[in-house]
């Protein structure tokens, strides 16, 4: 009898790493999107504002100081994550740190795409006639991939900590 259960895209294995079941096409698609986000970040467009949030909403001077220190570090983290994606693009397994890098990049892409699409809490079903249809589909697919990543990474955490 066939099973309709979906195989996890990232499965913890006995070696303490994760089996990496994404197709090559999807891996390359994710890397291209992360590269696009990196370019947008360099250009500092409005779509990337969620990647560099305010820390002190009521204190512009303090926030300016925070941004000077934080922005470069956040950029470095994102560049490092993209480098890990490129380096592990053809791997059959990922370490925890490598999967964390993929997850960070995928979430960044969702933040940028979601900002551009002005996603809301109560958005309606996908509209085939919408000019944003392709981007909405990409956004939903990124959410599905991210969901699998979170499930896999959560399995490594102690459920009763603190």
């Amino acid at each position: 009898m066939p099973s309709f259960r979906r195989k996890p895209l990232f499965a913890p294995n006995r070696a303490g790493t994760f089996d990496f079941h994404l197709s090559d096409d999807v891996r390359q698609w994710l890397i291209r999107l992360a590269e696009d986000v990196q370019i947008l970040t360099d250009e500092d467009t409005d779509d990337t504002r969620r990647l560099f949030p305010t820390a002190y909403p009521d204190d512009a001077d303090r926030d300016a100081g925070y941004q000077i220190l934080a922005r470069g570090h956040l950029m470095d983290q994102r560049n490092d994550a993209l480098a890990v994606m490129r380096h592990t693009a053809h791997n059959s397994t990922l370490t925890q740190d490598e999967l964390a890098a993929w997850m960070r990049s995928v979430n960044d892409v969702r933040l940028v795409l979601g900002t551009r699409l002005d996603v809301g809490e109560d958005d309606a079903e996908l509209d085939l006639d919408s000019p944003d249809f392709d981007e909405r589909v990409a956004y939903e697919n990124l959410g599905a991939v991210l969901h699998h990543m979170v499930d896999a990474m959560s399995a490594t955490l102690d459920p009763g900590a603190q």
């Binding site: 969620r50 820390a55 909403p57 570090h73 955490l157 603190q162």
Partner: protein
């Protein structure tokens, strides 16, 4: 002969303000997945699954949650970690 030392009066109100604990607030946003937000709370703060889920639901239903507190330096460090994971976090303290 020693030079006169200029004594600047300390504004005690400023000192007291700095000593008050800062709160780290995570705000609801329609983009981040709920299970991702809970995962970040567990990873960054070492919270239990139950506590992380409770805070995540506070964020989702109440619009915000106080996820940690401490000195300004500690709060800023936590905010920076949350920003690194794409969460919308800010910090505040009682005036």
């Amino acid at each position: 002969m020693t030079s006169p030392i200029e004594v600047r009066e300390t504004d005690l109100d400023d000192v007291v303000d700095e000593d008050k604990p800062w709160r780290v607030i995570v705000w609801n946003d329609p983009i981040n997945l709920m299970n991702y937000v809970a995962f970040v709370f567990r990873k960054v703060f070492g919270y239990s699954e139950e506590k992380a889920n409770r805070l995540m639901l506070d964020v989702h239903h109440k619009g915000r949650a106080n996820v940690s507190s401490g000195t300004r330096t500690e709060a800023e460090r936590d905010v920076h970690k949350l920003h690194g994971h794409g969460l919308w976090a800010t910090m505040e303290h009682d005036s």
